[in-house]
């Protein structure tokens, strides 16, 4: 990897760890509304993408996401930021059509060549899922940010929402947790290059394939795990109507993240998520990896609610297609004491 640009050294927090906390956000946008007959998914749920009805066959999916650098290599940062931005379309079950770059470029610390590499990295990922980049906008910024506004299409009858899981379904997660911890460690130069490469390759993996596989099975809800951490996004999925029961031992966590968490290399975002969710979570037995469930993920995996009957087949299919970290991690139960439970 080309780490000379030291992208992560000039930002306060890495990737989605830099995101505004869920509590702050709800307070800020809670009063906004966007009801219209053509809006199929808007701001009233916590979905990250919106869906606009066009005709019986097509609905427009729109989403936008930007992140600060999580790795020092500009090309790889571009790939990861793109994978992160495209992910919301895939979580909805859509296909990407076009994307526009959004760049806050830190011209004080970086030469123009870095910008070129970032954009090339982004383009490689848009091409990988069959989309095209049709423009963008760049401003000078004190801290580097990059991402995309993405437009895609989905069949109006086949939209995957994040808050409609059925009781009895199980949850499959397609990427391991710990990315906020690991990117914080990258920023501090604490990881060996081989680990950085492993983490970068997970972050740059598109959720496109996972989304296409998911559509072949009986899936009732889907979201991608990003800044609010596994439990934050699971809470949105529960919609306070069901209890999601996690089996700690089945949750994929990168070993390297465990070791760093033990050392106390945990971004503040994880603690923000935890304090926001503390009243929603019941722990059968306290677990030392608990904080990792709140770790803010950049370009995290898809979290899918699937019928128990289809779950083994879907899981096998994901693994066969190279998504080897995929695992069944939870079950949807009738609402109990709290909407989230881990044991």
């Amino acid at each position: 990897m080309n780490n000379e640009a030291k992208l992560t050294k000039y930002v306060k927090a890495a990737g989605c760890a830099a995101k505004l906390g869920p509590g702050d956000l709800t307070e800020a946008i809670g009063g906004l509304s966007c009801t219209h007959e053509n809006v199929l998914v808007g701001m009233d749920t916590s979905d990250d993408a919106s869906v606009y009805y066009l005709d019986e066959e097509r609905a427009l999916v729109q989403t936008v996401d930007i992140i600060t650098p999580v790795v020092d290599d500009p090309y790889v940062y571009g790939q990861i930021a793109a994978a992160n931005s495209l992910s919301d379309v895939f979580a909805m079950g859509g296909e990407v059509a076009t994307a526009m770059n959004i760049v806050g470029f830190d011209g004080c610390h970086q030469p123009r060549s870095v910008l070129k590499e970032i954009l090339a990295g982004g383009q490689s990922k848009v091409q990988e899922c069959g989309g095209i980049i049709i423009g963008g906008h760049t401003i000078e910024a004190p801290e580097m940010t990059y991402g995309m506004s993405v437009t895609g299409f989905v069949h109006p009858q086949k939209i995957y929402r994040n808050n409609t899981p059925r009781i009895g379904d199980v949850l499959i997660l397609t990427k391991p947790l710990g990315m906020g911890i690991l990117t914080t460690a990258i920023k501090a130069d604490m990881l060996e290059n081989s680990v950085v490469e492993k983490v970068a390759s997970i972050l740059a993996t598109l959720n496109h394939k996972a989304s296409q596989i998911m559509r072949k099975y009986d899936v009732s809800a889907c979201t991608d795990v990003t800044g609010f951490g596994l439990l934050g996004h699971a809470y949105e999925m529960s919609f306070n109507r069901v209890t999601i029961a996690f089996e700690m031992k089945n949750i994929p966590i990168l070993e390297e993240a465990r070791a760093l968490a033990d050392m106390g290399i945990i971004p503040a975002g994880a603690y923000n998520n935890k304090s926001y969710l503390s009243a929603k979570v019941e722990a059968k037995v306290p677990h030392k990896d608990e904080i990792i469930l709140y770790d803010a993920q950049t370009s995290g995996g898809l979290l899918m609610a699937v019928s128990q009957k289809d779950a083994p087949k879907l899981l096998q299919n994901l693994k066969d297609e190279g998504l080897g970290y995929s695992a069944i991690i939870a079950e949807i139960l009738p609402l109990g004491n709290k909407p989230l439970l881990y044991m």
Partner: protein, 196 residues
């Protein structure tokens, strides 16, 4: 030692705490001031998982004082680079540094100062007249120093042949009796030898 990590973003407070603990000798206390919940949790997590004794006390203005005791129990923390010892052997051939009365004083002073190092030599090997140090009277000033070194984990060996030569084998008060093969291994196997 006290460090102020107020206003620093993760992972800086943990890294500064780690660095400070590495430089401190055993049996010392490190105080870390932080002013965010994340920093407090992270520093305490680091210290607890490292096996240190740790306490937190909330101060005014959202600050927290974390007190970490670096004692003997903290051996679990350490990977190779946090080892409290230098991979060095101190090779003593005489009970003096140089000649005469001054030489006798100097060796006590030298070893006493060694005690203050953040990292101690792993081993001390005594041959020839140096075995008179490990077999000195209980009241001799050198005895206190050698025992303190041993208590900190420094391995002290006295040459068996030399002890016998001087007829003091039964007077050995600190460390173990070494043999020629072990001595050679220590001199050539480690990173370095310092001879006085």
């Amino acid at each position: 030692m006290k460090i102020d990590c107020s206003g620093l973003a993760c992972p800086e407070p943990v890294l500064q705490t780690k660095k400070a603990l590495e430089t401190l000798p055993n049996d010392s206390v490190l105080e870390v001031v932080v002013n965010s919940m994340a920093s407090k949790e992270n520093v305490m997590r680091f210290a607890q998982n490292g096996g240190f004794d740790v306490r937190a006390q909330d101060l005014d203005e959202g600050k927290t004082l974390i007190t970490i005791v670096k004692g003997f129990t903290c051996k679990t923390v350490v990977d190779a680079k946090d080892e409290p010892f230098l991979d060095k052997t101190l090779f003593l051939k005489s009970d003096k540094v140089g000649e005469g009365e001054l030489g006798a004083k100097l060796i006590v002073g030298f070893l006493k100062s060694t005690l203050e190092l953040p990292k101690l030599p792993h081993r001390i090997v005594c041959v020839n007249q140096a075995v008179l140090l490990t077999t000195a009277d209980e009241s001799a000033p050198i005895m206190e120093v050698l025992k303190a070194l041993e208590a900190k984990g420094v391995e002290i060996y006295s040459c068996g042949v030399c002890l016998e030569f001087f007829g003091v084998t039964d007077k050995l008060k600190v460390g173990k009796i070494g043999n020629a093969f072990g001595t050679i291994e220590m001199l050539f196997g480690g990173e370095g030898t310092i001879s006085l």
